[in-house]
Subunit: 532 residues, 2 copies
Amino acid sequence: MKYICCFILFTLTALCGVAAGFSTIEKWGVFELELKGPAGGNPFLEVRFGAVFTDGNTTVTVPGFYDGDGIYKIRFSPGATGDWRYETKSNRWELTGKLGKFIVTSPASGNHGPVQVQNTFHFAYADGTPFKQVGTTIYNWTDAPEELQEETLRTLAASPFNKARMLLTPQPTPYQNHFAPPRWPFAGTPPYAWDFSRFNPDYFRHFENRIRQLSDLGIQADVILFNPYGKFGFETMDAVADERYVRYVVARLGAYRNIWWSLANEYDFLRTKTEADWDRLGNLVQECDPHQRLRSIHNGAIIYDHGKSWITHVSMQNGAAVEEPGRAEMYRGVWRKPVVYDEVKYEGVTQYRWGNLTGQEMVHRFWCGTVAGTYVGHGDYFTTVEEDTWTSFGGKLSGQSAPRLAFLRKVLEESPAQGIDPIDKWQDVNTGGVPGLYYLTYFGQATPLEWRFRLYKNGVIDGQHYQVEIIDTWDMSITPVEGEFVTKKLDNYHYVDVAERVVKLSGKPGMAVRVRRIGQDGKPAATVLPND
Amino acid sequence: MKYICCFILFTLTALCGVAAGFSTIEKWGVFELELKGPAGGNPFLEVRFGAVFTDGNTTVTVPGFYDGDGIYKIRFSPGATGDWRYETKSNRWELTGKLGKFIVTSPASGNHGPVQVQNTFHFAYADGTPFKQVGTTIYNWTDAPEELQEETLRTLAASPFNKARMLLTPQPTPYQNHFAPPRWPFAGTPPYAWDFSRFNPDYFRHFENRIRQLSDLGIQADVILFNPYGKFGFETMDAVADERYVRYVVARLGAYRNIWWSLANEYDFLRTKTEADWDRLGNLVQECDPHQRLRSIHNGAIIYDHGKSWITHVSMQNGAAVEEPGRAEMYRGVWRKPVVYDEVKYEGVTQYRWGNLTGQEMVHRFWCGTVAGTYVGHGDYFTTVEEDTWTSFGGKLSGQSAPRLAFLRKVLEESPAQGIDPIDKWQDVNTGGVPGLYYLTYFGQATPLEWRFRLYKNGVIDGQHYQVEIIDTWDMSITPVEGEFVTKKLDNYHYVDVAERVVKLSGKPGMAVRVRRIGQDGKPAATVLPND
């Protein structure tokens, strides 16, 4: 909000000496300021409102929003402990020049901060804890009846998923024949009779409550701002309404630390917008979000240029790309950003070929993405809720993949903090890891009866000690191979075991081997070791 | 050359009435103007020289170059028939204000003009003739002894290759232990004692003679301006020398209609340059080339951003990407430009894994690229010339792939003019073609015993007639399947034959089927037909 740019900061300093009794919040929590202001006219259009926050080191300009009934709010999530001060600015006297202070304490256990990009291709929370994405898709779960929403939360709590893709606006689906959405994001009535200049605070209060509940469950909310699924008429917003909508949503939701912005689902299917519109809106999100949450855009058939600077990571719909790891790696090299295969088709039973993967195939795609150094998203498309599915409205999971994805997530949590990268790009597409430390080789639908211990030369010298385990990705077992493997140079490219040991495999599909360097203590090493 | 920008064109008009006796050249041929000028000092640095050409419709500013011994030349390839006039401009009186006229006639048979991008992903000559790229690599053939160069030309004449990648500057190789390059591009002596401000016209005269001979053979010359293969010291040029070099090369060679510019081979291995340097040099080639030849850059391990506007097509080194068609398609969707896999490893025998493909694997990679709607380049790395190979120095081909690539080229020449595109992207990666007209399904290393006639719905309705042929990509045979296939809708996605016919296959690897719509005359249709 540019109108606050030339704010006079010295007034903040005046507060420094003020004594105790201030509110406290934890780092990466949400400080919320609430003020009474004008309720007449159209406050969404007529009232400008925001604040500048500073702790003396960092100064952040934060937009506020109108919450109805003459209530104005500003939400800010501080990224540092200590004393913070603020001053409000508005074009209305009731809302301008308000000064305040609050104290930011250390984060509570389990609060690791927002997720950010780390090591080019990976993610980590702000406190450095790795975030290994295992996503799912529940487009309109917040529009379902309340008891179903509660069931969705229970299902998520017991699931492996740490990110959920969800639409911000309702979408018409078969389920809507039975239950219309209980609330709408705008004033007006469906279809098409919307007043896009008036948001419905009740809709957003409900939505953000669900966001907070996801955060409590440790789940990132990948909130999709625009979608092409018409019939209610949200796709008819013009550029002015689009901008107002983006600014309102970002101001309301952006302070929650589990927010990710997905600008659109299947952007190219939204015929009322051009690529120039998406660029403008993507840049707008970047510009107006003081919290700089992660930003992406999801495609239908036409791939977006994820090299654009407003995009923090690749959100890809291309199921074929995770049918084998050699494909999955390719987009990494193109954009040098984290790649999340957010839509790889759904596990399910349907006449549509985008929703009839077997559980085995869904698990396979996750493992392909994993060893390629990328991340994958799940969907569950079995009709369980009236005429609809988990991926549309939540409820229960029906597929067979979720427990196997929980197993994969456990393997990921045990993998090196810096993330899994291809070990020998374009040569051994089935192996990801960290050179000289950790290797995960996934055999996919191949059914080998043995695997010769063989490591690519990077990070390896003669005489290193490794442990080998056999992983059954479907039966969810990890079986250690007896004894150690000790490296010896084979040729220009590879090292093998000094005794040229070969690991026996079962001949089943979906098997993997995990190879971990053994430290001085005889246990798998956590970080790259000095050479033995 | 910006100094000619404000040229006064009315002087050209003065020539309009001048009578006959003018030289004639064919359209897309090379008009060469030669003038005497100063030989003292350093003409490469001190003399600016160029001309403006116009036919009344199009005006082109063309840079000239110094050819040694007081000789100055301008080369221009006109893209339209009729009368063309020119006026020279220089900072030396002997070279400025020279007026002239010449007549451009229709192109001779076999002259289709320069190759350009067509239909987003493909190439065509300027006269509209499709160009189906089947490339090879002969990095330093122009530095080999003369008799070997002549042999290379004879080999090329009998080969399927219609594009050759070649370095403009010599590279040290084992062969250089036996024969030093007979000429050098700069004044001075190897290694490192170069005067980068003085080009060696003899070197370029020889090189461009070879370019002309390639043109006579119908072969595009993909000329690589920079390479990382040091030891002679060309990688030590600074930014000023780089720019002078680019301008000189473009002025000398750009008029030849078979020129393609490859800015670098393995650009990321050239440690003396940054990505900003490559962008600057790529933009320079675009800016200073009046003929606007095709422009690309070739990578080592780090993929370039081929979305940049100076790049006309993708030149990719990634052998793994053509191991199967699903990978090969992916870069098309990213950049929406033609994709040429210029380096996919070489057929050969060597200790290096980039040069030991079997002939079968090389042919396989070409077919994978083909059905994915991309193009592939060949290399032959059998030691035949002293200690070196076709791909380094030309001579003879030793591999087994070339005849099979000739067979593939024949198939390509018979394919639709608009190019082969994936028919059902991300679903049926093995099939390319044109919907409702032409389908090529390549089974790769799979060995099916039958193929059910099945076409994706786009362009297909009930009752269309198709011919099916079985292609053996290795034994180079095309076997028609008896009778016609008539379409009938199967489901939401596919059509099958009314009698649900199945095509029997041999169970060999490397097989394909070609499916062509049959026209009213009972023959395969050349273009998309109105529905039957």
